[in-house]
Symmetry: C2
């Protein structure tokens, strides 16, 4: 039994999201025909963090130039010679009214650069700006991951860098039932961890590679923004150049462990932290089996596993223990700043 | 009067560092003759952070490909098709025995890729590996900045991207007297800030652009590693996507403000933080005048100003107030991990 989780609605949302496959593939195919010299992704906050995994994965498929831009920095930064009318610019905002994203899209349009992307539906301000929008009606993290990966991997498939696209996309029909089972497996641990740590004055988070985006998202957009819980997020490589000195018996260290080539860096953190804190928690995607999804596609699913167990499940249990609604903000989007 | 500061030795060190100008220029000139297709910098911890400013600056001069690699990630990551025998690989380690740097250099050598760089003297393990080393006898941050900028800017000058190299390098003779005066101007504030905040359980640091490296370095390598003080470092753009919710009257927010195009993002943070915390401290390079250095070179000097006032001066005063020696470590380099 999952706390505050509507199982039927979730499966329905999964179907809705998956049903966009044809729209997304058609868009990717028409973009491929138009040709482009590079891909520029505009994100900010949570969307930046989600795209991080996609961009990182794509860079392993090919050295075709793909750039991930923070939309606020994009608005001011000067060294972007790669941005041109030959760029394929993609963005996303579920709400469709994220200020920095809208301004960044307008800036592209003023230069005659077309922008494509994802937003909730046709009524959002972003939908009205985009050259062509894909509607992402559910918008929670795994839905976004699935849609972004579909678009990116279809583009890479069309360029000759991801031959197994069809098999992968077919198997993604099984994503949601896997993520429900994984949630159920993790639920008792989520309850236990949140009970133990939700009121800690400080929690260190360590992650790397493909999962760095999720590590950053969970600390910044969930614990800080939605729970007012203080965190420090650091990569597994950097952990050994400063933050390690803060570790002691009662300092919580949460380690997000993935399956890419950065794993040895995560393992080094684990060995160190086991010795010096009693409050180490490891979130290792390897502990979760995937049914009807080939092992070669596991990497793509790892950020979705972490989003299911941390950004969704653990957040719900933190809320229970902090008593601070995940919906409540005092500043964010409450007024102009 | 500057606390724990040997004025004469400092000026002498400055002269020693500046005296390497010819060696550095000769190296840059001979590297230019050999030709290279891209530049790859290997750093970790503090050296990564210092190189960050140089790489960021160079990217404004030209879109010639230059990559900044974290040496620990470099050892495992797979998507580095740009690395080849035609790459110019540069690294640095003052001690010359940083584990990840040594392994990364060996990995390059095994591929037949030559590596150049900076280390204390000819006796260090790194000196023995490098194809050609420049000795950086003093090694503190501004010395490193000056030497790294000299090498990089001479290379960019030779490629036709930095015509004013000679005038800049000539004016850098006046760097150290400027940085002494700036230290003296800042000293009372360093004493006051450290007294007020050194025992805070949590301090948020915000920075951007060219100065992001220093923001990261001061929090991670100084406060966390050398003072066991808990910090959160976040960019000015990201501040508004999560961390802002943590700000309240008694939460210290330290804002590092520079003079590049990211400044409007810093100013936005300042406006917000002024309203919601009584503990905002702004470190703005614009407040410091430079004598005998042209305004067009100010940007290059901004990380050196921040390193002088924070990484050096503020650190000394934190030490006084925490009672925790800047030399003391419990884990870092104390044993194998």
């Amino acid at each position: 039994m999952l706390r505050n989780f509507k199982l039927e609605k979730y499966l329905e949302d999964g179907k809705k999201t998956y049903s966009k496959r044809e729209d997304i593939e058609n868009l990717a195919d028409s973009l491929t025909e138009k040709k482009f010299r590079n891909i520029v992704i505009l994100g900010i906050g949570g969307t930046w963090a989600e795209w991080y995994a996609i961009v990182e994965y794509c860079r392993h498929l090919s050295d075709f130039p793909i750039y991930l831009e923070n939309a606020a920095e994009f608005l001011v930064k000067k060294n972007m010679n790669y941005l041109s009318k030959d760029s394929l610019v993609i963005t996303s905002s579920a709400s469709g009214n994220t200020k920095e994203i809208l301004e960044a899209v307008k800036l592209c349009m003023a230069e005659g650069i077309r922008v494509y992307g994802f937003t909730r539906d046709e009524t959002t301000p972003l939908a009205k700006l985009l050259t062509k929008a894909i509607y992402n009606p559910c918008g929670d993290c795994e839905h976004s991951y699935l849609m972004y990966f579909m678009l990116a991997l279809r583009l890479y498939h069309n360029m000759g860098y991801f031959d197994s696209y069809k098999r992968w996309a077919d198997q993604m029909q099984h994503l949601y039932t896997n993520l429900i089972r994984i949630r159920e497996e993790f639920e008792p641990r989520a309850a236990e961890i949140a009970k133990k740590y939700a009121k800690e004055p400080y929690t260190m988070f360590v992650g790397s590679g493909l999962l760095w985006g999720e590590t950053y998202l969970f600390t910044m957009c969930i614990l800080e923004e939605m729970q007012w819980v203080r965190t420090k997020a650091v990569t597994s490589a950097d952990f050994f150049h400063g933050p390690l000195e803060l570790v002691e018996k009662d300092v919580p260290v949460f380690l997000v462990m993935g399956e890419d080539e950065y794993r040895p860096l995560d393992e080094r953190v684990e060995r160190f932290a086991r010795k010096f804190t009693d409050k180490l928690e490891v979130f290792d995607t390897k502990e979760f089996h995937l049914t009807d999804i080939d092992d070669e596609f596991r990497l793509i699913v790892t950020p979705m596993i972490i989003t299911a167990i941390l950004t969704e499940r653990l957040a719900v249990h933190y809320e229970l223990n902090t008593g601070h609604s995940l919906e409540f903000r005092r500043y964010y989007r409450q007024f102009e700043y």
